[in-house]
């Protein structure tokens, strides 16, 4: 159409054609399609405006390096028959990667979009609720594992010598005038003085995500002492959204592509 196609000699001696605006957009759209993205994500706040990295990106960066390292190890293993390097422990600051990393096609870390704390009105138990937005669950992939990660610092209450029983439930259904329907996902018993990341297996909750298209996941966490007394989760050091960004709770879900055409024909 008579558009001037300016050619210039690329440093390596190859002719390089300057793309028009439309062509550049087509190129980007094509690469995004190959990467399985409908469009160019627009994170709400650009990197410069983000504060210190939150826990999820730190964890996922560790996961990325673990996976990238494995991909290279596979290459070197094939080229020079070198034994596969063992994934060494990662810095204690960031949580260890999940156990199903290398077989996953997609790993999604979900930020905690809402948090609720129960104040004891009628002598009921203490609990803490966390909300996750699952709309980004990749279509055509099945969940292989899902983990809820929460950081436990040293508690402030007087339970430091006892042991604690922590249980995590899925909020299966909420009712206006009565208690929600809860579905037990995972429990852990630990010493009250424990510090570090706690990892709860919440894979069972994923059954509803794809079938019922239930994209708003609620998790509720209870803490009890050995003799059954309910304890405020915050008082034993479980950090929520008010904790430091590098120690805020998040979820990690591992997906595997279901067998189908490698690329949807267009």
């Amino acid at each position: 159409s008579g558009s001037v196609v300016r050619r210039r000699l690329h440093a390596a001696g190859f002719l390089q054609r300057r793309l028009s605006g439309g062509e550049r957009r087509d190129v980007q759209r094509e690469i995004l399609a190959v990467l399985g993205l409908p469009g160019r994500p627009r994170p709400r706040n650009p990197p410069s405006a983000r504060g210190p990295a939150a826990a999820a990106p730190l964890f996922m960066l560790d996961l990325y390096h673990a996976v990238a390292g494995e991909e290279e190890a596979e290459e070197e293993e094939e080229e020079a028959a070198v034994s596969r390097p063992v994934l060494t422990g990662l810095s204690t600051q960031s949580p260890p990667p999940g156990s199903v990393v290398s077989r996953a096609d997609t790993v999604v870390s979900l930020v905690n979009v809402g948090e609720l704390r129960e104040h004891r009105r009628e002598r009921g138990p203490y609990w803490k609720e966390f909300r996750f937005d699952l709309t980004q669950v990749p279509a055509g992939e099945s969940v292989t594992a899902a983990e809820f990660r929460i950081y436990k610092a040293r508690g402030v209450s007087g339970h430091s010598n006892s042991s604690l029983h922590i249980s995590v439930y899925e909020i299966a259904a909420e009712h206006y005038n009565r208690e929600s329907d809860l579905f037990l996902l995972d429990v852990q018993d630990l010493h009250a003085g424990t510090e570090g990341w706690l990892v709860f297996d919440v894979t069972a909750a994923s059954n509803h995500w794809l079938v019922d298209q239930k994209y708003n996941l609620g998790l509720r966490l209870y803490v009890e002492t050995a003799d059954g007394h309910s304890v405020d989760p915050g008082s034993v050091g479980l950090l929520g959204r008010r904790g430091p960004r590098s120690k805020q709770p998040f979820m990690v879900t591992f997906f595997r592509a279901s067998p189908g055409p490698a690329r949807i024909p267009r």
């Binding site: 994500p41 930020v111 980004q136």
Partner: protein, 139 residues
């Protein structure tokens, strides 16, 4: 960005060099008549050049490579030729007008992983299969 072939330092080892490390993986190996044989060339896809580093966390780009070169008779062992390609190149020798040479194409592809923010600030690690050319051959 496509770069010109660069000479790669071969690691000192007593073993026989791996087929992929034979001269030709990066060097300018030419067939007897001076044409370049089928081999892997460097091609780097830069997310930085695409202006995507506001949502791609890692990597800044990746080496995709591409295959190019002649699949002319006789097909050497380093050309990863299929039996069919060998026969096709023989027939091409006899009837160049009727049957083309075999094609230089990837024989092995590997995955690459990309870590990025989605529009809800969730962080996603996605493994993309068949994105990196590991070896080329005549098909």
């Amino acid at each position: 960005a496509a770069k010109g072939p660069r000479r790669r330092q071969h690691k000192k080892s007593n073993d026989l060099p791996h087929p992929n490390k034979l001269p030709g993986i990066f060097d300018d190996v030419h067939a007897a008549d001076g044409r370049q044989v089928c081999r892997r060339h460097e091609l780097y896809v830069s997310f930085q050049d695409l202006g995507w580093l506001d949502w791609v966390i890692a990597p800044q780009g990746y080496s995709a490579y591409y295959c190019e070169g002649e699949c002319a008779f006789p097909l050497d062992s380093c050309m990863n030729a299929t039996n069919h390609a060998i026969l096709q190149s023989l027939v091409h020798l006899m009837k160049p007008e009727a049957v083309p040479k075999a094609c230089c194409a990837p024989t092995k592809l590997s995955a690459t992983s990309v870590l990025y923010y989605d529009s809800n600030n969730n962080v996603i690690l996605k493994k993309h299969r068949n994105m990196v050319v590991k070896s080329c051959g005549c098909h």
